[in-house]
């Protein structure tokens, strides 16, 4: 991949990080407010993001659109029969999301905003990822 190719992803990521901060999705307070069902803000964001996502993915599929390199676009399906994995893993993620008040994207956006302490949860998340890799064969999926 050429540098100009990478630049595109850098720009999209920058827009993403900017919106995460401007919409306060990165805020521990907003996550608390969401899990307490005390404001529509977070539900509005996730809900509209999903609606826009569904419509655009449907358009891409319906018209068999190709990507910029001319390759067919395919989204690999996730195996929904692994219910344990999604439910247990998802619940563990949810425990962490509510505790830290940030999921992976916001961790990095907060770091960029000058909150240097986010280095600690990022390193902890890497340790968590690594630990999953080590224990993977022993966990129910």
């Amino acid at each position: 991949m050429k540098f100009s190719e990478y630049l595109k992803y850098l720009i999209i990521g920058t827009a993403f990080g900017f919106v995460l901060v401007k919409s306060e999705v990165v805020s521990w307070f907003r996550i608390q407010e969401m899990f307490r069902f005390q404001d529509f803000h977070m539900y509005g964001i996730i809900g509209l993001a999903v609606i826009v996502g569904i419509i655009s993915v449907q358009i891409i599929k319906r018209f068999d659109m190709k990507d910029a390199q001319g390759n067919p676009i395919s989204i690999p399906p996730k195996d929904a029969s692994q219910v344990k994995r999604y439910l247990i893993g998802g619940s563990m993620f949810g425990l962490g999301w509510a505790l830290l008040g940030a999921c992976p994207g916001p961790m990095f956006a907060l770091l960029g905003s000058g909150l240097t302490i986010m280095v600690i949860p990022i390193l902890a998340a890497l340790a968590g990822t690594y630990t999953y890799g080590l224990l993977r064969d022993k966990l129910p999926h």
């Binding site: 307070f29 529509f40 993001a49 996502g53 992976p104 890799g133």
Partner: protein, 187 residues
């Protein structure tokens, strides 16, 4: 004129922009939006102990996503530092009073200083929130095969049942933490 760069953006502006990330990444390179994959790629780049789960060509799989992640940090710098909103977040009054009852005092920034500060690392509360919280996010995201972006946005956009189950899991865990465990941690 540049006021909108400093002000918080309402949900009906932010939601569609975040949603558009999915088709834009698909269209420019057939890429699937998901932030936590970067954590796996980082483990694959080091792979101490040659763990099988991290044995793959992370450069081919992950370079674009790493650039996206660098952008996310940069976007956070622009949105949260250069064009930082000087006002406290307009939270629901009920949230503020609930959190005050738990002992949270600082409502000025994006996160409370009561928890997110270097000197909190020396306390049980700080270690729990920052280290255990981060660990669970990393472990849980990989166990579930994705995080908020990969499941709640990308997966649901593709109407994947697996992602719906994962998002239900996110809320089971989140509600247990918020209503049952957090009051004990901060108590």
């Amino acid at each position: 004129m540049l006021d909108f760069l400093y002000q918080p953006w309402p949900w009906y502006v932010a939601g569609p922009i975040i949603g558009l990330t999915v088709p834009i990444l698909l269209l420019i390179g057939g890429k699937i939006f998901g932030v936590s994959a970067n954590l796996r790629h980082a483990c694959a780049a080091c792979n101490f102990g040659n763990v099988e789960f991290f044995n793959y060509d992370w450069k081919t799989a992950g370079k674009w996503n790493f650039m996206f992640l660098v952008g996310t940090v940069l976007g956070g710098f622009l949105g949260g530092y250069v064009f930082a909103n000087p006002e406290p977040i307009a939270l629901a009054a009920s949230t503020i009073s609930d959190l005050q009852a738990l002992g949270i005092q600082d409502f000025n920034g994006l996160v409370p200083d009561d928890l997110f500060a270097w000197d909190m690392l020396g306390t049980g509360i700080g270690l729990t929130v920052l280290v255990l919280g981060g660990f669970l996010v990393g472990f849980g995201a990989r166990y579930a095969g994705g995080c908020t972006s990969g499941h709640a946005i990308s997966g649901l956009s593709d109407l994947q049942l697996a992602s719906l189950i994962a998002v239900i899991g996110f809320f089971i865990g989140g509600l247990i933490m918020t209503f049952l465990i957090y009051p004990i941690i901060l108590g």
